[in-house]
Amino acid sequence: MTEDIQLISLLLTPLVGMLLLALAGRWPNVREAITLITAVVLFSESIQLAVDVLGGARPGLTLIEMLPGLTLRLAVEPLGAVFSVISSGLWIISTLYSIGYMRGNKEKKQTRFFVCFAGAIFAAQGIALAGNMLTLFMFYEAMTLITYPLVTHHGTDHARNSARTYLGVLLGTSIAFLLSGLLATWVIAGTLDFRQGGILAGHLGATGTALLLVLYMFGIGKAALMPFHRWLPAAMVAPTPVSALLHAVAVVKAGVFTIVKVIVYIFGTDNLMSLGSADWVPVIAGFSILSASIVALRADNLKRRLAYSTVSQLSYVTLAATLLAPISIVGAVLHIAAHALGKITLFFAAGSIYTAAHKTEVSQLDGIGRRMPWTMVAFSIGALSMIGLPPAAGFVSKWYILSAAISLEHWLAVGVLALSTLLNAGYFLPIVWRAFFREPPSDDDDHHDEHHAAHGEAPLLMVFAQTATASMTIGLFFYHEPVLRLARAVAGAF
């Protein structure tokens, strides 16, 4: 019974938060206090859940029978606990950051912003806790729709057109591919539950499984596997806190989370391994990793560069999951956590630069590290994590993925990982170098009014938020025991 309440409250907390936020719209301070409190409450609930799951508990709860024989169901397993903790924990920090950002940039429609933000977290919790594929699909679609007003926040033609790409790709892939995959699974296996070892084993031959996997891999558009990645750079038109929490953490992680779930609990790694139906995915993922990195290398707009970096990093998870070895699954789960921390730090830094200096292009960042040391140090730590260097969390996950690739003698994956490390260094280190070692442009004052020219650090809340996530990026390098244990449980204990 208490388990039921625990699960329900994880969904109800952000929902109640949304309602209160909408009601408190007139009083910004009250509104922001509500967001913070909701986030803290949610995080504590989610930590409690993760502790229980570490202790071996697997709570489950059927919400409603939607169709005869098919229910909306919540069920927690280790992967869901990881995603729940990441999304709710980073929500606290990004709320602090959002308050600074939205006020600092005098954004309009802040109430709608915070309500939809809470809605996106609600959907993320639903995805994390979903006990079968149908429930997951419902929250997955809900997340696309609730983030639409966030992407279009500025209401300009540019925002509208980008949001068309956003919605078109995400809804299009999920309806055309994911839904048909879902229905095919239902017709073939007679169930949509997530089970250790999968539900398709023995129901479908190698070709059929491969075709179904195509539907899932491309249907989960949120994982941004090429060629369905265009929505992610398009989403960058949103205010930076949205890019930071949603398009570096909640939404995209919902995508790769779903991919790992599907591989492990629908198809089953052993089943895929013996059929050989997933052999093509690492190739596509590898292609995504490299080509997105090359686009990032050429992008001058900072957020665009970060977005393509995300496309590339998401495919690390897809690649790791489809290597199908237990240790690669561990790497995939760890990378979900590590990339979340690193990328949110990078976006926070980008938003700080925009708020304090109104700069959006990489080429404008010469010498900015002297004026904004905190921001650029945080940025550098995030960059280290992306490249996969110690002492940042990205190293740990990359280590696991790489050892899996080597032990499987999957030389393509090894090559992709090595090359991508170089490419990552190629597009992140020059930014760091520019910021700290180049002279600031002297004719700055000609283009900017006095206020901008004399900028210093970003508002305190924003600096605090990015410092916190940067510290956590390093923290996860030294202490990742609980995540590792959860990841091992997903991989089926070894």
Binding site: E65, M66, E141, A142, L171, I175, A176, L179, L183, A184
Partner: protein, 496 residues
Amino acid sequence: MLTQHFPALLVVVPLMAAPLIVFARRSLASWLIALLATAITFGIAASLLAQTLSEGTLVYAMGSWEAPLGIEYRIDAAGAFVAVIVAAMGLIVMPYSRVGIAAEVRSEEHYLYYALMMLCLAGLLGILVTGDAFNVFVFLEVSSLATYVLIAMGRDRRALVAAYQYLLMGTIGATLYVVGVGLLYLETGTLNLADMATRLVDVGDSRGVLAALAFITVGISLKIALFPLHLWLPNAYAYAPSPVSAFLAATATKVSIYVLMRYFFTIFGATEVFDARATGAILLGLSLAAMFIPAVVAIFQHDMKRLLAYSSVSQIGYITLGISLDSVEGLMASAMHLFNHALTKGGLFLVLGGVVLRCGGAGFDRLAGLGHTMPVAAFAMVVGGLSLIGVPGTAGFISKWYLVSAAMHEGQWWLVGAVLASSLLAVIYVWRFVEVAYFRAPPADHPAPGEAPLSMQLPALAMIAACVYFGIDATWSSEVSMRVAEVLMYNPGVGQ
């Protein structure tokens, strides 16, 4: 016992309400009579559904004249299911009409509006309950004639042309139908549908039966607005008074679809229709064309009512697609979508009625900025739109789910792609509204209207809420749809 007369009362109550309203004349009194009559009718329909679900087919001899001589009323779960949809829609539209027609119909004509609505309701329910082929024609004409006048009541002068267009096409449809019935009478010597079904088995392969099938299929398809026989529909929905658009969109075409299902599965029999003839293939082709072509046309509309009308033609394609699969699963999906689409489109037209009242039109130039001027209505339209797309959590998703699984059960994997691809077209036309409502500034002469009056808002929101409810808890609707499909498929009305 009163309940044993329910099959007759289902028609008699609204039919008698019509002259009463004409006598009453006063707008308020007419409304009250109509409201009471629809409430009673709904109660009867609901009780008939419960009864047919538990006891099977109900047979009622009109005036106690037994079948071959008299007219027999015969209702089973399939008919009662559609009757509940029709009666429920009537009950929702009535409270809405009071304010809803005030701006669109002259006050001295209000009583005519209510009287005609009652006739229309009686006609539609009559089609569902009667067991006599010619009687179907009579009720078809009763409801159609009422509909022509109701459409002509629209404020826009183009309503007259729309009504005239529908009158012509509807009459052609009805004539074709009655020719078909005549041919069947020649072949079988009976007009009683149940007898006809039994005797047709003995007639066997005959040119007369083939001709009858052709006449009836085309005639009814005209009333269904099956592509490409849909030309009357967009204008009729666009220029009729708002409550009429909502009522028609949710009921009229649905009842005709029921008639088609009846003739295909109960009278001619699935073997005759689908195995011996190419009817299934033709229907499949037309359904696919309906799913795509009108959906593309909808994308290019500049008026929300027309957009929704073309969307209806497209959604009808889903229903006929289910029929063309010739399986219990397919029929079940059809029945399901019949119900879900009635909810969705009825709800959307009701919301739109309130918007038209406030904004003075349904053109996109009038609806610009609706998200700011009428936030509740705009949001309700979006939710209804999501149901048209078939987003999970809405009724439309459930339909899509069953339709796609029915196609999979038949091994028609390519149809899966077709159904889902056509939902993507729905995304585009629904998003045209979203962008107009949320990204365009309200027109300069906009009187800053505020939301629609409560009496319109509440029924509309109730429908939209039902759309969400039946998208999350679809156990009832899917169980009943399953029964409907089984009744149609395995229970050809013989030997009851």
